[in-house]
Symmetry: C3
Subunit: 161 residues, 3 copies
Amino acid sequence: MSPIDERLKSLNIVLPDVMPPVVDGYVPAFAPFTRSGDQIHLSGRLGKEGGKLLCGKVGEEISLDQGKLAARHVAIELLAVLKAAIGDLGCVRRIVKLFVMVNGAPHFTEPHRVADGASELLVQVFGERGIHSRSAVSVAQLPFGACLEIDMIAELEATQP
Amino acid sequence: MSPIDERLKSLNIVLPDVMPPVVDGYVPAFAPFTRSGDQIHLSGRLGKEGGKLLCGKVGEEISLDQGKLAARHVAIELLAVLKAAIGDLGCVRRIVKLFVMVNGAPHFTEPHRVADGASELLVQVFGERGIHSRSAVSVAQLPFGACLEIDMIAELEATQP
Amino acid sequence: MSPIDERLKSLNIVLPDVMPPVVDGYVPAFAPFTRSGDQIHLSGRLGKEGGKLLCGKVGEEISLDQGKLAARHVAIELLAVLKAAIGDLGCVRRIVKLFVMVNGAPHFTEPHRVADGASELLVQVFGERGIHSRSAVSVAQLPFGACLEIDMIAELEATQP
């Protein structure tokens, strides 16, 4: 068991099965990730609760705490995609960038606090390698009315084939 | 004629002249693309119909099908920029990432279906190399009120100067 | 004094102290920048005026000119982060990408003109190396209600450790 797998276990995190990412019969015309040199670019993934899409406006139907938890779950899904992509999360050199798009109510000005749900999880799992650059915004709407969407860039150890 | 050029021809796609990207007298203070290592980063381009900007909210003035077609046209423009950048689209190793920003009506929750217009075109043209990672969102507004904007990262063959 | 430092001086630009980026007691769970190969990815930074956050909708409470100036200030902050990251701005090979997210009023369709405040500053400072790819959009809201947020990718000279 790799150190990252042990960390996940100690945090009681079980990586979900992420393939295929079909929602409501919609089959994506794109991939969950691509590789470019040592970078892995991960497609935006939508906020969920209890394994189901969590839809609605954060700051209205969805509370800040619910949104933050949904962001944490998306980060866990992104790790599951990353593991499916590279086999061993121990090969991650660094989480490079997180882009957090919150489906916020018009006057909700805390997308950054929602985003912290994902950011904190990444640092818990990867330690210093999980400290990333980030942008967090509220957008007007999201696919299926989901409460948030997050995409990510990670970098692998250069020795990784 | 390269295999990609033949594919474009068989799809009846003629790459437009994309330079200079001046709209309504506005001269951009930025470039259509930059290169970083083996990556080409392409600036966001706006949705058009019949060579003219297509403005309005998707889900209100603009139908889903119109939006999807506009997204396809943007993808073709992005290919035109890419060709101008590197000379031969056969040097593209992979489409890395697509970011699709739809000017959606408040309750329009299908930016991903709009985005498919671009995604499907890229896979038609490049096959497996065109399968990309993607995020799709609805934003509040876009330059000139355009119905959508798409930017892209592509990766070149490492041997490409 | 490096050529870039001289350019900054001739433009009367003093790079601000950007660390730590704590706002209103909020301590970020992420870093101002990360490095990935020769790329530096900079976190989104918020629009300010006179060293304080500038909040409100561009096109309503905030004028286009105020927004453009705020974008210029963000670009200066991004340069300050970049200098803190790499020591010498002369090591920048190229500004790769700018993503400008404007907190625009519903009918404000000029996020690109706001973004020019940042784009023009980068070209003034870096000349040809400052010409970047860019996307500019209006989003629904931003952290703390800020008038805009900008993130950036820069590339370093390959010889840079």
